[in-house]
Symmetry: C2
Subunit: 165 residues, 2 copies
């Protein structure tokens, strides 16, 4: 591989990784800006509370780790409350402070994992597609999962920002 | 350039373009699902109406065309109402039917423009950075603008979906 081609692939990857930093970073800033009380106040009448969306983004982004074939999820035990059920359906959820720390821990772990992948590895299959199918559908790769999670984070950030001040 | 390297770049680009189809396609489906009356009904108390967000996404995505250095924007005349002002601040806005058609026309135009760019061209500078600065910051490229607009569309789709049925 020539220097310039290698460099172009690296720019593709670094550009894409910056979109994670941008949108997940904004979500982190938003959660940090909310008091624990505001975290427990619904965004709009009968809508989710920020604590639910924090837990939801936590488990969805955590689940990327097995989807990207990079290891085991850490927060699978929170999926019943924050992924498989709507807000308030599960009475027992962790305290706000614990979820805030989980979010920081997850983002630190993801940053390390993302940084280990080479451009070619980003284009390898994700875990939900077989090697046979992937040969026919090469866009079903790790990058596709990653991009979907960036925009999913933006999707919920848009909702979070609707909370009245 | 070997066949395999060329192919990897194409997969990067096709994967990224699919994220546009996914999120902007979902926004289009959502707008199509709303009656004209629902388009004029605010998402939540004192929040934007869907017609405003349709106009907002229209002008922001349209503005990508000059930002990507691919031509002139078509809907610059709508920026005062949908970008520079909040909802309802500008009394005279186009009818819903006209904005729906504008949205379709824009998306058809963007699809053609996106398909013309080679992988190397996606990594060229966007219009807001000089050639000198771009030499130092190669991630400030067309792809970065594009990814930002995908997630911006997802951001507002999240808000739109909060509208009570």
């Amino acid at each position: 591989m020539s220097q310039s081609e290698s460099s172009a692939d690296q720019v593709f990857v670094s550009t894409v990784l910056k979109s994670w930093d941008q949108w997940v970073g904004r979500a982190s800033q938003f959660f940090e800006s909310l008091s624990d009380e505001a975290m427990l106040t619904e965004i709009a009448p009968d809508k989710n509370r920020p604590i639910y969306l924090l837990g939801h983004l936590l488990v969805v982004n955590d689940y990327m780790i097995p989807q990207l074939r990079l290891g085991e999820a850490n927060f699978a035990h929170l999926r019943p409350a924050f992924l498989e059920s709507p807000d308030r359906a599960v009475a027992e959820i962790p305290p706000v402070a614990e979820l805030r720390q989980d979010w920081k821990d997850l983002n630190a772990r993801l940053a390390v994992l993302f940084s280990t992948l080479t451009p070619a590895e980003w284009l390898e299959r994700h875990s939900a597609i077989s090697e046979e199918d992937f040969a026919l559908e090469p866009h079903r790769n790790r990058l596709a999962i990653f991009l979907s999670r960036v925009s999913h984070s933006a999707y919920h950030l848009g909702q979070l920002r609707m909370q009245p001040k």
